[in-house]
């Protein structure tokens, strides 16, 4: 049973032929799926608007009123949460299949349908949706850590946007870094996890107004290795590349380019790229935000410090990109004011 623990996955089945729907319904019911039927794309879209919990759609292509292609496009345009779309297509119609996939369909089932193949492809979709849910859970943990550390407001959002801006710019300026748009997006998505280890730091240290003693600072420094280790453990179990990047960001975002950082004292290019990027994003936001132990610095003051730290704390490439894209950074700061 794919659902497990009584969870029945709801599938929207879209086909203008009632006999085809009856057949697929019978095959899917055996797999403990609850099937909702629609006779065309327009009807299907109305169902999806009303029932956001339906995450899996199986659709025919050639239908009256609204073609399957249009349904795929509409679902992708309006997506708040990802929906896994499987298209039904005859095996010889490769042109339609390629078009459906290019519009955003995830998989296909050749017609006539084989029940075992149908079940396996649906289960594959459910596995992918589960991974997304796991990702959301992990990001929720990051939010919890943020609430606890009093970094309220939009700290995580700003760091995410600064990280994305840096990643995209570096990818264009330095091809040897091999930061594709997709990788820049991945860096941005994991950035909220960089301080997840703060959940393990005592309140007395986390919320202390004023300067930490050297002993307290040593305890505070543990947040990087605690968060890094936590994400590394989940990565070891899941082997999700997303979590490997998240682990690198959390573990090494306090390393310094000159080798004087923590926890490992890595230097220069030995520091993972995502950690060098998040280091600047986090540092800029920490400086320009008010915290329990300090007032917010002006952008100009933060900029002076960043320039001073070029090649010391920060990778020179990151600083150059920050200066080039200064307006974008200011716009992000403006957009996400606490």
């Amino acid at each position: 049973m794919v659902g497990g623990m009584g969870v029945q996955h709801r599938i929207l089945l879209v086909d203008d032929d009632p006999a085809q729907r009856t057949l697929l319904n019978m095959c899917l019911e055996r797999g403990d799926f609850a099937v909702i039927e629609a006779g065309n794309g327009e009807e299907a879209f109305r169902v999806l608007e009303k029932e956001p919990e339906i995450r899996l759609v199986i659709t025919d292509l050639d239908m009256p009123v609204m073609h399957g292609f249009d349904l795929i496009s509409k679902v992708r345009e309006s997506d708040l949460r990802y929906r896994y779309i499987i298209v039904l297509t005859s095996s010889e119609d490769k042109k339609s299949l390629v078009k459906a996939l290019s519009l955003g369909a995830d998989d296909y089932i050749p017609k006539p349908v084989r029940p075992d193949e149908l079940r396996l492809r649906v289960e594959g979709g459910i596995r992918l949706l589960r991974l997304e849910i796991q990702e959301e859970l992990i990001l929720s943990m990051a939010k919890l850590a943020e609430y606890r550390s009093d970094e309220t407001g939009y700290h995580l959002e700003r760091v995410l946007f600064y990280t994305r801006t840096l990643g995209r710019d570096l990818g264009m300026k330095y091809p040897h870094l091999k930061i594709s748009t997709q990788l820049a997006e991945e860096f941005a998505r994991v950035s909220p996890l960089h301080d997840i280890g703060k959940v393990a730091i005592p309140d007395s240290i986390l919320h202390k107004p004023g300067k930490l003693t050297s002993e307290e600072f040593e305890i505070m420094k543990n947040h990087a290795s605690i968060g890094g280790q936590l994400l590394k453990d989940i990565y070891t179990k899941s082997r999700s590349p997303y979590l490997k990047v998240a682990y690198e960001a959390a573990m090494y975002h306090h390393e310094r380019y000159n080798g004087n950082g923590y926890p490992a004292g890595l230097k220069g290019e030995d520091i993972p790229l995502v950690a060098r990027i998040v280091a600047l994003a986090d540092m800029y936001d920490a400086m320009t935000s008010e915290r329990c132990y300090k007032k917010a610095f002006s952008h100009e003051k933060a900029k002076r410090i960043i320039i001073e730290e070029k090649g010391e704390h920060l990778d020179p490439k990151m600083v150059d990109s920050f200066l080039d894209k200064e307006e974008e950074w200011l716009a992000i700061r403006e957009r996400f004011q606490d």
Partner: protein, 120 residues
């Protein structure tokens, strides 16, 4: 030059029931339901084709209904009859002027035992 396609043997309820059982592992009750549903879909597509062909023959419409008819026949395991429906679909999609009326009539005759299921 087009060669004439061999006409498959007439579709029987027993043959389709056996296919539903073997291909989809359905229960007797499910087979009854699917057989009736298939009969209704066959009737829908055949009638639609007859209407379109009788009204001057809008080729995109003929291709669409031919496509639908092919799908129902493939699900029934009737590959030979599905090939005839495919011929309607492909020819109409290519804009060919054929005797669609004759092909549709041949298919109707071939599946008549199934078409009668919905009335029983």
């Amino acid at each position: 030059m087009k060669t004439e396609q061999a006409i498959p043997s007439k579709v029987s309820r027993v043959r389709v029931r056996n296919h539903f059982q073997e291909a989809y592992s359905l229960s007797k009750d499910q087979i009854d339901i699917l057989l009736k549903s298939s009969a209704r879909s066959l009737e829908t597509f055949l009638s639609a084709l007859e209407d379109v062909v009788g009204n001057g023959g809008d080729l995109p419409q003929i291709a669409r209904f031919g496509h639908g008819l092919k799908g129902v026949l493939l699900n029934m395991g009737e590959d030979g009859w599905a090939d005839l429906a495919r011929k309607i679909e492909d020819s109409a999609a290519e804009g060919q002027d054929r005797d669609y009326k004759k092909i549709v009539a041949t298919i109707r005759l071939g599946v008549e035992e199934i078409l009668n299921v919905s009335d029983r």
